[in-house]
């Protein structure tokens, strides 16, 4: 490949993507900001899909385009030789479900839920379950309070895998967010071990 020098490229940390999903206003960007070593950045992509909500089948009109924004931060893990990129949507989540480049190669996801508006997180849960992407659930405790237990939240979300971790967190607290990411890594490790142990 032009410009690709394997010996030199070995030096650079490899990017690893983690997605942060959940309903609008649940604190995704706050979560990213809490652990990122940079101020969260915003990038945009223009997605085109045939006929989203359009019943006019006439040529150009049958294609609609929408701009999707992503907020992201990074955590360099020098000893592991990787740099984690945490991508969260500021809104419009239904559109990034079509964004294959974003999902491709992602290590896993954090689904952030607000228990006062739990239904806003159903699409993200369904989506990751259907795509087989490992995820953990973080219940954001606004004002430091959470009236529900992890089991109650797990039941209300009707998680397909009862072993899916549900953690309480304050999305503003770095250590809370780190613990959620550690839980996600544990989930990915368990799943990988199970997959390699299978006959």
């Amino acid at each position: 490949m032009p410009g690709y020098d394997p010996a030199a490229a070995r030096q650079e940390p490899a990017p690893v993507k983690i997605l942060v999903a959940g309903g609008f206003g649940v604190g995704k960007t706050t979560l990213v900001e809490a652990v990122s070593e940079i101020e969260p950045l915003r990038t945009e992509e223009r997605l085109t899909a045939a006929g989203i909500g359009v019943d006019d089948l006439d040529g150009i009109e049958a294609k609609t385009a929408t701009t999707v924004a992503m907020d992201f931060g990074r955590i360099t893990l020098a000893d592991a030789g990787v740099v984690l990129y945490l991508f969260g949507t500021p809104g419009q989540e239904r559109f990034w479900f079509m964004w294959d480049d974003l999902l491709h190669g992602a290590l896993g996801a954090v689904v952030l839920v607000d228990t006062r508006r739990l239904e806003r997180s159903f699409p993200a849960v369904d989506f990751f379950e259907n795509r087989g992407l490992p995820f953990v659930v973080g219940a954001n405790c606004f004002h430091g309070e959470q009236p529900y237990t992890a089991d109650e939240i797990r039941a209300a979300l009707r998680l397909r895998d009862p072993g899916t971790p549900v953690l309480m967190l304050d999305a503003r607290a770095r250590t809370d967010v780190r613990d959620v990411l550690l839980s996600l890594l544990d989930t990915v490790i368990d799943r990988t071990r199970a997959a390699t142990a299978a006959p």
Binding site: A9, L41, D79, H104, G105, L107, R178
Partner: protein
């Protein structure tokens, strides 16, 4: 400073950034590819380049480089035009690229453990 967002009121036109070339670059990059400048200030190959290209290269200095998504965000460009521009720069040997971890590497338990251990210490 390299980490400051570099945004202007208007997006640069893609044809201006790609030096008029409109053919797709041979190098195909994704948003999570790491790119690293292969030339820097003071190199003959660098100093004659368009200013926008120099800005891009300044955003991904060696040794660590930067992900394509981050360069796009800092340049205030959408991802697709940015990947085309970076592909063009890679074709010309102005930057190196490292593809994201995929397949066997992502399911390597030892690497996952190293990531976990490192993360636990942040």
């Amino acid at each position: 400073m390299a980490d400051e967002p570099r945004r202007s009121g208007r997006r640069p036109r893609l044809y201006a950034l790609t030096d008029g070339r409109t053919a797709a670059p041979r190098t195909v990059l994704t948003m999570d590819t790491t790119i690293t400048a292969a030339v820097g200030e003071g190199d003959d190959a660098h100093d004659g380049l368009p200013t926008e290209w120099q800005h891009v290269l300044a955003l991904c200095p060696p040794p660590d480089g930067r992900a394509v998504a981050e360069v796009a965000a800092r340049m205030g460009m959408r991802l697709t035009p940015m990947t085309l521009l970076l592909g063009e720069l890679a074709d010309r040997g102005l930057l190196r690229h490292r593809p994201p971890l995929e397949g066997a590497e992502t399911i390597d338990v030892h690497l996952l453990m190293r990531i976990r251990d490192n993360l636990a210490r942040i």
